[in-house]
Symmetry: C2
Subunit: 345 residues, 2 copies
């Protein structure tokens, strides 16, 4: 299973449009109050219990460590969030939250998120089944040591009823620039809502769409088998990919000059600007990604583009610098990072 940031397959194929696949399983420990009712001391004690259970299990060829969010400042924790390794909720619970992560940063077990446990697996490309199998394996291993809160009728019990049952949230991050441009996304949003799925922005729940990146995930966790959930999501994702491809072909045929112009101007701006705000950068990166996906831009890789998605965040920039940067200084440093990363080979 490949890390979506650092070990992306740079071959150009149909699945390029998919940035990452992510599985998250919500679990709670029997007989203990949900995290929002725990104070810092009790929360930390849960962290210790989970760690004990986890590190006593045998994980073949995997090296894990625990990150205690309370030992870090907010900036550092925000960077984990920007990498999609942890959720915003985990960050906001940082006085009592932690996560266990492997060296590859494909598995992260969040402790004291909304639920006691959020077992997450994330990988590059359209890879839902393997990603689910990995998350599932860790769920099984933990279940041997931890007494999960489970109801025969309802399934896994969770802090919020939207996660009841399987506790499974499967999501896929997609790059849909042409459907966005053609204002098709509202229609797609309405359609997928009706079949129990939802579409969100780059940073999940409540985040706005930036850089034409959309996360599509199941909304319903109860009354369906895991396999059904995955299959339904996969079918929807494939259909959306298909729609995006058809639209791309039409646009390229009708506006070939304008298309090439827009894509290479975006690359030119990223390679030359000295001030870049986040939103503009994501928009320009989306155009460049489209150019790479379509084989028009040949000297930029998907790895570079995915790494940039993380490296250009305010938190990533701020993490490297000792003093607090103004908004303009952040924009200046962001532009520097982008120029260096996209330098002509």
């Amino acid at each position: 299973m490949k890390n979506w940031i650092y070990s992306v397959n740079d071959e150009n194929n149909e699945n390029n449009i998919v940035i990452s696949s992510r599985i998250r399983l919500a679990r709670n420990i029997e007989g203990i109050a949900f995290p929002h009712r725990l104070d810092s001391k009790d929360g930390k004690s849960i962290v210790k219990d989970v760690e004990k259970a986890f590190y006593n299990t045998e994980y073949p060829n995997e090296n894990f460590k625990t990150i205690y969010l309370w030992e870090n400042d907010l900036i550092k924790n925000r960077v984990f969030f920007d990498k999609h390794l942890i959720s915003y909720k985990l960050v906001s619970n940082m006085d009592k939250s932690a996560f266990i992560v492997n060296d590859d940063e494909t598995i992260s077990i969040m402790i004291n998120e909304e639920d006691h446990l959020r077992i997450q697996a994330i990988s590059a490309g359209l890879n839902l089944k393997e990603t689910f199998d990995v998350a599932n394996k860790f769920d099984d291993l933990l279940e041997e040591k931890v007494d999960y809160a489970f109801d025969e009728q309802l399934g896994y019990l969770t802090a919020c009823p939207t996660n009841l049952g399987t506790g499974l949230r499967a999501s896929v991050m997609l790059h849909l620039p042409i459907l966005s441009m053609q204002n098709e996304m509202d229609k797609i949003f309405n359609t997928v809502s009706k079949i129990g799925m939802t579409i969100r922005g780059l940073y999940g729940e409540g985040s706005k769409v930036q850089g034409n990146l959309y996360q599509i995930s199941n909304q319903i966790t109860l009354g369906l088998e895991e396999e059904e959930i995955l299959n339904n999501l996969l079918a929807v994702v494939k259909q959306i990919i298909n729609q995006e491809y058809i639209s791309r072909e039409k646009v390229v045929n009708k506006y070939s000059y304008e298309f090439k112009d827009k894509i290479f101007r975006s690359l030119g701006l990223l390679r030359s600007a000295y001030l870049l705000q986040m939103e503009e950068t994501l928009g320009l990166l989306s155009n460049v990604r489209l150019g790479v996906e379509m084989g028009i831009i040949k000297d930029v890789t998907f790895s570079t583009l995915n790494q940039l998605l993380v490296d250009i965040s305010d938190a990533s920039i701020q993490l490297e610098i000792d003093k607090e940067l103004s908004s303009k200084e952040l924009a200046y440093r962001r532009a520097e990072i982008v120029r260096n990363k996209l330098q002509m080979s």
Copy 2:
């Protein structure tokens, strides 16, 4: 005297802001109707007479040829206009007009413009006096062979009374991006009008300002000695240059990041776009020129920028291609020319 397009001094100095200096002397032949009253046959016969007079004179080390506008199509004649070698009026009289030009394209003697003769000298940079001396020399040489229409009281007689007297129009082309940006040009325009001067766009009378390029010239030709006219113009130009420099310094000090960003973005766009309309191109070239003038951009020369001013015109582009190009095809080819010329060294 250096050609303003092909042999610009690329050293960076205070006069960079001046693209070219131009002198034009209006003269008519005694006893012959002004050009607008001549039909094609009579006009062509004047051309022959002037040629005969001109080529019988001794010009040390100069090689001249005559271009008969009626032998060319409009496109080809437009390119001479784009080079500022001839006026728009000469082009519109192309059924009977011609010009004699040296190899360096610094001297052009227009025949059957608004007046029978328009002796023009044009050179790179702020170089009014030398340019005047050259034009004056050719005027003197011609006067030995041609009977000029001259009135003891009024001076040289011209088709339009605005040229009466000295028949001298001296003009300087300036690059004033910051005064333009700060909307100072209207004020300057009002001031110079009061002292008998005028400001026009890149292509002279009636043309709009593009690329922040302004032509400042004397309006009054009567009642002043040539030297006074030149001195007055020089004084005004130097003052405007000074104002532009002061404004630049202020802007750079106050907005250094934004300034660098704007300049390098413009260069980046010119180096990467696949469709460029004329107006946008001139605006971007102005930003790049500003960067070169200020020593921020180091790998672009003034020669390149001046050549581009000519090469990107519709006529120059069309001249190279056998079929008539659509507006989009012109924009595509323009972008190609710009990318090639500004390629990174």
